[in-house]
């Protein structure tokens, strides 16, 4: 029976082989931009590492309740024989088996640091994606309007962006949070506002170059409305730099949010946010360095993932840079 099965199984796989060849031909000939990008992205070592880190991070965030041995805010007083700021205890590394295992140690409020770091992945991904979405929506609208309308609208919008850019990002974010009041939501709004100019500039520059091209003139000649041209003809073609900027923007948004939380202006305790975890224990760096070290490593890895992916995307999506790369080799 077993042999029959094994001989039967290659048959269906072998049958469509001529078809598979045809499929290979079919994809090679027209090669969609998306497939092209993926192919080029796959060849970038940085993009591969970036995607690996981010993939792992997303899994950690999704399965946090499974991975973390405790809930992020569970206080272990009376539950286990542990004291505040206990060092990491890993059984495999020689920690006595009669002591409870805590991979990254215990924090100042007698909570399991590993669980808090794991749950922090959810918070950080949320921070990165929400701020950048907020900034992209507003930045794209402003940039597209400035680039497409030109004239005084362009002048007013871009001078406004210049004013925002005239302040160091974190200082402006601190000032905005002080107006809105501390808290994670307000910190996100502040970082969102601070990052608007980058997107507005990127979109404006692409719109300026695209709107002069022949296919836009053709659309106009066919009687398309300005809105139709802007949103359906111009903007889709301006997406490339926006995707790159957005990916790199998530990295800096996570760093800025962590900095705000570190200063006590962002996420408030007991939210398991890496920056705030680090900030709360910063005076203990000499006595319990693990409480500062691990949340910082988590921030660094996450930011590194987005930076690597952003760099890879830029190389893969920007044909000019890609050509330079080929030339060098």
């Amino acid at each position: 029976m077993a042999t029959a099965d094994s001989t039967a199984s290659p048959a269906p796989a072998g049958a469509p082989s001529p078809l598979a060849g045809a499929e290979g031909l079919r994809t090679a000939a027209p090669s969609t931009p998306l497939y092209d990008t993926w192919r080029r992205l796959r060849r970038r070592r940085s993009a591969i590492y970036g995607m690996a880190i981010l993939g792992a991070l997303i899994l950690v965030a999704l399965f946090a309740p499974v991975i973390a041995p405790y809930a992020p805010n569970t206080v272990l007083i009376g539950v286990e024989p542990v004291r505040p700021r206990d060092n990491p205890c890993i059984h495999l590394l020689g920690c006595p088996a009669d002591q409870p295992q805590h991979l990254l140690g215990i924090d100042g409020n007698v909570r399991d640091l590993f669980s808090r770091v794991v749950y922090g992945a959810q918070v950080s991904l949320f921070i990165g994606i929400s701020t950048v979405s907020f900034a992209i929506v507003i930045g794209v609208l402003l940039g597209a309007l400035a680039g497409y309308a030109g004239g005084w609208a362009d002048n007013v919008i871009m001078r406004l962006m210049d004013v925002l850019l005239a302040f160091p990002a974190l200082l402006l974010a601190i000032a905005i949070v002080s107006v809105l009041g501390p808290g994670l939501r307000n910190a996100l709004i502040a970082i969102g506002i601070v990052s608007i100019p980058a997107y507005a500039r990127v979109v404006r520059a692409s719109v300026l170059s695209i709107k002069e091209q022949d296919f836009i003139a053709a659309s106009r000649a066919l009687g398309a409305s300005p809105w139709h041209i802007l949103f359906l003809r111009v903007l889709p073609n301006a997406l490339t730099p926006l995707i790159v900027q957005g990916t790199l923007g998530i990295a800096s948004a996570i760093l800025d949010a962590a900095a705000l939380s570190f200063l006590g202006l962002g996420a408030q305790p007991p939210t398991p946010e890496w920056g705030s975890m680090l900030g709360q224990e910063r005076n203990q760096v000499f006595t319990a360095p693990h409480l500062v070290f691990f949340p910082g490593v988590a921030i660094m890895l996450t930011v590194l993932g987005f930076n690597l992916l952003g760099d890879g995307l830029r190389d893969a999506l920007d044909p000019r840079l890609a050509q330079v790369g080929i030339k060098i080799r």
Partner: protein, 357 residues
């Protein structure tokens, strides 16, 4: 070139007015009334009315803005509500610290970053290149405050009682002090001249250097190393990356091939022919990093207990000290605009195509 400078200056004007407006608006938008923030929750209404009238806070907002602009244009930044001292004095005390820190960080970033970038480009795709670029990627991803704390842990605790031990806080070891230049040189000054000399006095490294106070100089430099290294990491990584990619691009150009074909050795080709043209984007990145340095200074000053601009700004925002917030954000933003202007101008100076187009 003169016309270009003039045009750029003209373009900066609306931005400056915008900055004035934003700093003004920010200070007014900070919630809760300034009177009780300063005088305490138990201040009576009568006292508060008097306080508000004295500080002109009862006038309409446009009038307040006009008064504010007029005062700023005359160089009068007002009094700190919290410290009850002229803001100018606070600036003279605090700004030199931050400038010293930022300049030290920038120097480290350039002196280390540019050579690293050059080596990476010349030894393209070798171990040196890969290690440098991996390091650079990690460098831009590190939170400044985390790196600062880790450096403090390593150099102040782990390396304690070794020659590598470095102090983790303050500008000078307690017990060591540096007299202001007016005292050292027995100067009798007043007004703007006094302000300038006091400002220079508070640049400890500069002060110790020109007065030949070597013990203080070494102490000040030792205190500067850790915060400066923490602050330098991100710009260093950015500079190394941009130097590498820009140099690689230039090295693939035809005139470099010509230079090599003439029989020039590799070193002069890279250092004389290629590097000059490759440094253009590096200048831009250096200019842009300065803004990041100021942001980072808030964090580094917090970690290393340094009395700089970042710290006072943060404290003043939390304490709702309007005038200090206004003045310091204003000075920082104007400085930032000035730096951007200089970056643009140096770009035009280095690349004739920009100023001619």
């Amino acid at each position: 070139m003169h016309r270009y400078i003039f045009q750029r200056l003209l373009l900066a004007l609306p931005v400056l007015v915008g900055i004035l407006f934003v700093t003004f608006a920010l200070a007014r938008l900070i919630p809760s009334d300034p009177c009780r923030a300063v005088l305490g929750e138990r201040a009576t209404d009568a006292i508060c009315d008097d306080f508000i009238r004295r500080h002109g806070l009862d006038k309409p907002i446009p009038v307040q803005f006009a008064v504010y602009m007029g005062e700023v244009l005359q160089g009068n930044l007002g009094n700190s509500i919290r410290f009850n001292r002229p803001v100018m004095d606070l600036l003279i005390e605090r700004l030199p610290m931050t400038m010293e820190l930022s300049l030290a960080a920038l120097t480290i970033a350039i002196v280390v970053g540019v050579p690293l970038g050059i080596i990476s480009a010349v030894r393209h795709n070798t171990t040196v290149d890969v290690v440098t670029m991996v390091g650079a990627n990690i460098g831009v991803s590190m939170p400044v405050f985390w790196l600062g704390l880790m450096l403090a842990y390593v150099f102040a605790l782990l390396l304690r009682d070794t020659p590598l031990q470095l102090p983790p806080s303050g500008r000078l070891t307690s017990g060591i002090s540096l007299p202001p230049l007016t005292t050292t040189w027995h100067l009798e000054l007043s007004g703007a001249a006094l302000n300038v000399v006091d400002f220079l006095s508070n640049l400890y490294v500069f002060n110790a250097l020109i007065t030949g106070n070597w013990r203080v100089l070494i102490d000040a430099l030792r205190h500067l190393i850790l915060p400066a290294v923490a602050l330098a990491t991100i710009p260093l990584a950015l500079i190394a990356r941009i130097t590498r990619s820009s140099l690689l691009e230039v090295l693939s150009l035809d005139y470099i091939r010509t230079a090599r074909a003439k029989g020039l050795r590799e070193w002069p080709v890279v250092m004389k022919h290629a590097l000059r043209n490759a440094l253009l984007p590096v200048v831009t990145v250096v200019g842009l990093s300065l803004g990041g340095l100021l942001s980072g200074a808030v964090l580094t000053e917090t970690i290393f207990s340094l009395p700089g601009v970042g710290r006072i700004l943060y404290d003043s925002i939390t304490a709702r000290d309007y005038t200090v917030v206004q003045a310091f954000t204003l000075v920082i933003a104007i400085g930032f605009v000035g730096i951007n202007l200089l970056t643009d101008l140096s770009y035009a100076y280095l690349d004739p195509r920009i100023r001619l187009s």
